[in-house]
């Protein structure tokens, strides 16, 4: 193994970015804390494209489904990766913590079971973790890795809230009238700066050449046109339809706060209702719903 991909601690308490470690003596730099939320999976593509050696990777439940995603899309050579599964109790949202505690006083944040232990100044504060977890972690259905070579510790229980709140936001938007819905989405998309962070972090967005980067044919104008932004969001969501495994990184990483999960989950909900329940990223050998068909499929249009 030439390297491991994990997380390290950076300067501030809320920063635990992904790190490549090539030196075993530096292994003590690896951390597992409430902010190791970044998905390391996409880095495997660059690693495998540039280096023939094996690589180790630490994955949470959501990240492990990204591994299955890449395997199913035939973008990853499984035998060249050693997967360390890390059962995950959820990751903390630094914004929620900052809203309740003076940010400058916080020295350290640790997750102990269902409790979040904060060192604020020189005192220790214990709070119920659930109020400070990321929204995407509260609706997480698979906190335990689904594919791994070695599991680091015992599996954890999925949250009760996950199932009931999965499509709540989608239903709320869908219940609006057509015009209201349009203005709701215009308000969301007008903040989009088209930085493509949602695409870059998404393990389902793993095309060798992304159509949004192509010069010819050019699918997306360079100007800040609302129709182009809408086009981008429709196509991005559609390209991951039936393949999105709801890790929620796109929405979390979005600097403009575009609720991308409401789009992804809308597609998941429709596909489940029309073509049977399907969860992407659980099995690398099955067939995504838009890549297959049945003769008796229902249609959402007039078939006469």
């Amino acid at each position: 193994m030439a390297a491991v991909i994990g997380w390290r601690k950076k300067d501030f308490w809320w920063q635990s970015p992904v790190v490549f470690l090539e030196d075993p003596a530096a292994a003590h730099r690896l951390v597992w804390d409430p902010f190791t939320v970044y998905s390391p999976v996409k880095f495997l593509l660059e690693w495998q494209a540039s280096c023939a050696a094996k690589v180790g990777i630490f994955v949470k439940g959501c990240d492990s489904r990204g591994i299955n995603r890449l395997l199913q899309d035939k973008r990853l050579e499984r035998e060249r990766v050693v997967v360390y599964g890390v059962p995950c109790g959820g990751k903390a949202d630094a914004e929620k913590i900052r809203a309740s505690f003076p940010a400058k006083g916080i020295k350290d944040v640790t997750l102990l079971g269902e409790q979040l232990v904060l060192t604020v100044g020189d005192r220790e504060v214990r709070v119920a973790a659930e109020a400070y977890l990321l929204d995407k972690c509260l609706t997480c259905r698979h906190p335990n890795p689904v594919v791994y070579d070695k599991l680091l510790w015992e599996e954890v229980l999925p949250r009760q809230r996950a199932d009931e709140s999965r499509f709540a936001r989608v239903q709320a938007v869908a219940s609006l009238a057509t015009e209201e819905r349009f203005f709701y989405w215009q308000r969301q998309f007008e903040r989009c700066i088209r930085c493509f962070a949602c695409r870059n972090t998404c393990p389902a967005c793993n095309c060798r050449v992304c159509i949004f980067d192509q010069a010819e044919p050019r699918w997306l104008g360079k100007a800040n046109d609302p129709a182009d932004t809408l086009n981008y969001h429709i196509i991005r969501a559609f390209h991951v339809a039936g393949r999105c495994f709801e890790c929620g990184e796109c929405e979390r990483i979005c600097p403009a706060g575009v609720p991308l999960q409401e789009l992804n989950r809308k597609l998941i909900k429709d596909i489940n209702e029309a073509y049977g329940d399907y969860e992407a990223g659980l099995d690398a050998t099955d067939q995504p719903p838009l890549g297959t068909y049945r003769g008796e499929d229902p249609a959402g249009f007039d078939e006469s």
Binding site: G221, D225, L230, F238, Y293, G295
Partner: protein, 143 residues
Amino acid sequence: MPVVNERFEPLIVAFCCNWCSYAGADLAGISRMSYASNVRIIRVPCSSRVNPGFIIRAFQRGADGVLVAGCHPGDCHYHSGNFFTRRRLTVLKQMIEYLGIEPQRFQVRWISGSEGAKFAMVMNSVAEEIRLLGPNRKLRDVR
């Protein structure tokens, strides 16, 4: 003298599969049936050739409505293309509706090579529906 046009004439882009719907259009033509002149036909090898991006792009570049027409399920000349179309475009249609765009603007119909009359009827009814909706402003480029 300026031309006063009191009636809105929509622009409709119809993606027609080469083997059924395009033949249906041909039959409508050689049978001398008249249908709405708002329709611009783009011939594609199969309805599953229609990338959802084409549909969005057509709206961006000024279409008021988009129609995708293919062979009836089971009649695809490439064996199964339109089964994939059915799943894909069902999902796309629901998503466009979810984003607040009138669902009638995007339609999918199955029209076989022998259904010239149906082709003319579908084109007329789609043109009428979209005429009532008015111009597409939501998905159109501002440029």
